[in-house]
């Protein structure tokens, strides 16, 4: 490969590394809690029932915001984060099942049907079994969210949840994924250029000033030994 190509690829590599390092640095900045966004509550879920959005998120989340949920249940409960607004879910349920009251616990078959009709609406799904389960969702576009707790088991479940909204500069994982690619690829591209630059620097004859000063140093060393 010609020296020029090594330089071009090497510089592209160092640029990739610099960009990757910037992303790593940004991913290390922790999220900040959105003021007055805490919510918590307790729900009792009969077997084969579900409840819609016990949270109080009315505005859409931005790509720099995340929903954090801490769920504690005495038996298996499934938490869904849907990428639809609460009013959309309510409207669909009321249109299909006019007798139901979406603000209270509903039959699990309604949820199954809803998910069959809207298969792409589940942004995240987590099984909370027994002890504390943490769930975090950061949308990749402006997105309404609705949280659903569903008890698909055979015994009554008691769910306590605690949540908040978080503000990110960049969500950590989203910044780290491209950095994981950029830094090693950049390093591979940059190594030949760095080695050739080092070789060139080593082969370079010392400047006249350096030569003169080393000659003077040698002379004075000789004089001292004599």
């Amino acid at each position: 490969m010609s020296k020029r190509w090594i330089t071009v690829l090497g510089r592209a590599g160092t640029v990739l590394m610099a960009a990757g390092l910037a992303l790593v640095l940004l991913s290390m900045i922790p999220a900040r809690k959105v003021d007055q966004s805490d919510f918590f509550g307790v729900a009792i879920l009969e077997p084969q029932t579900f409840i819609i959005d016990p949270t109080y998120i009315f505005e859409p989340l931005t790509p720099q915001q995340g929903l954090y949920l801490n769920i504690r249940a005495n038996c298996s409960v499934t938490a869904y984060v849907l990428n639809l607004g609460k009013e959309n879910v309510y409207q669909w349920i009321l249109a299909r099942f006019p007798e139901s009251q979406p603000s209270s616990a509903l039959n699990g078959s309604i949820l199954d049907e809803f998910l069959n009709v809207h298969p792409n609406s589940v942004a995240q799904c987590e099984d909370a079994v027994g002890e504390t389960t943490e769930l975090q969702h950061v949308p990749s576009r402006l997105m309404n969210v609705t949280v659903i707790f569903s008890n698909r088991g055979t015994q009554t479940a008691s769910v306590s949840y605690r949540g908040k909204l978080l503000n990110y500069i960049v969500p950590g994982e989203r910044a780290l994924n491209p950095a994981k690619f950029a830094v090693p690829v950049g390093l591979v591209l940059a190594v030949p250029w760095l080695l050739s630059t080092r070789k060139r620097m080593a082969a370079k004859p010392p400047s006249i000033v350096v030569q003169a000063s080393s000659a003077t140093a040698q002379k004075s060393r000789k004089a001292r030994t004599q």
Binding site: A18, S140, L142, A175
Partner: protein, 266 residues
């Protein structure tokens, strides 16, 4: 083919001068860091068009990096070309078996094209990292936002190039370029105030000829139900402003070419 080698020789020497290690790397680091640090995908009022949301997000990424880009363009144009004239090294470059316009093209490719490509590459990467779905869903909005915002920077670069060729003083040309950029940035507030006070759109329309980003903003804002109704330009009008702003910027580059090829005596 015979002319390609000297052209590449000059281009390589310009690239080496403009982006000495680690200038390019520091720029990439700063562009990405400042883009994401100042990014704000704020909550828009209900009913806001997605185009407006995407445009505002792209705009929030532009602030400091655009200023860094302008600084880089001014430094490259004035220190690269202006310094050659000031120190007389242009005489050595003119010895190459190349036309003057090819020499200037090589210098501008290094000074302007590489800088803008680096800027756009990093900005779009930052947007993709932040909101990947928004980037894939609205590439046209993002492209137009960047095209509209970069044109004043290119206008300033073109004018500064012309000044540095005429004045032959790199530092003076740099200061003039910097002042021009500040002037264009400040004009936005002045025009906004004056046009609302006068109840006339003429000032906005004139200003959009050099900085079409405002026209683009009002176009996307007018798509939302709560849209700002003072000015609602149509899409073709916005495209016309963008085209006009690039035509004006190109005019100064063409003038610089003509001056460099025909009038400049060394």
């Amino acid at each position: 083919m015979a002319k390609r080698k000297p052209f590449l020789e000059i281009l390589a020497s310009c690239l080496h001068g403009d982006y000495k290690f680690p200038v390019l790397e520091l720029l990439a680091f700063l562009f990405l860091l400042s883009s994401l640090l100042f990014a704000y995908s704020g909550r828009e009022p209900p009913g806001a068009s997605e185009e407006l949301v995407v445009m505002n997000l792209s705009k929030s990424l532009l602030g400091l990096p655009l200023f860094i880009l302008v600084m880089l363009l001014l430094k490259n144009v004035t220190m690269g070309i202006g310094n050659d004239l000031e120190r007389g090294t242009i005489q050595t470059i003119l010895v190459y078996p190349l036309r003057r316009r090819s020499i200037l093209t090589a210098k501008l490719f290094s000074a302007v094209v590489i800088a803008v490509l680096l800027f756009l590459g990093i900005q779009i990467t930052a947007l993709w990292v932040l909101a990947p779905d928004m980037v894939f869903a609205n590439p046209d909005v993002i492209l137009l936002t960047y095209v509209a915002h970069v044109s004043p920077a290119l206008l300033v670069a073109g004018l500064t190039l012309l000044f540095s060729l005429i004045l032959r003083k790199s530092s003076a040309a740099f200061v003039v370029g910097l002042m021009l950029f500040f002037l264009i940035s400040m004009l936005a507030s002045l025009v906004s105030f004056a046009s609302q006070a006068m109840g006339s759109l003429l000032l906005w329309q004139l200003y959009s000829l050099i900085s079409p980003s405002e026209a683009l903003y009002y176009y996307y804002a007018s798509l939302s139900p709560y849209g700002y109704r003072f000015w609602s330009p149509v899409f073709s009008e916005v495209l016309l402003y963008i085209g006009a702003s690039y035509a004006i910027a190109s005019f100064f580059f063409v003038l610089s070419y003509l001056y460099f090829c025909r009038r400049l005596s060394v």
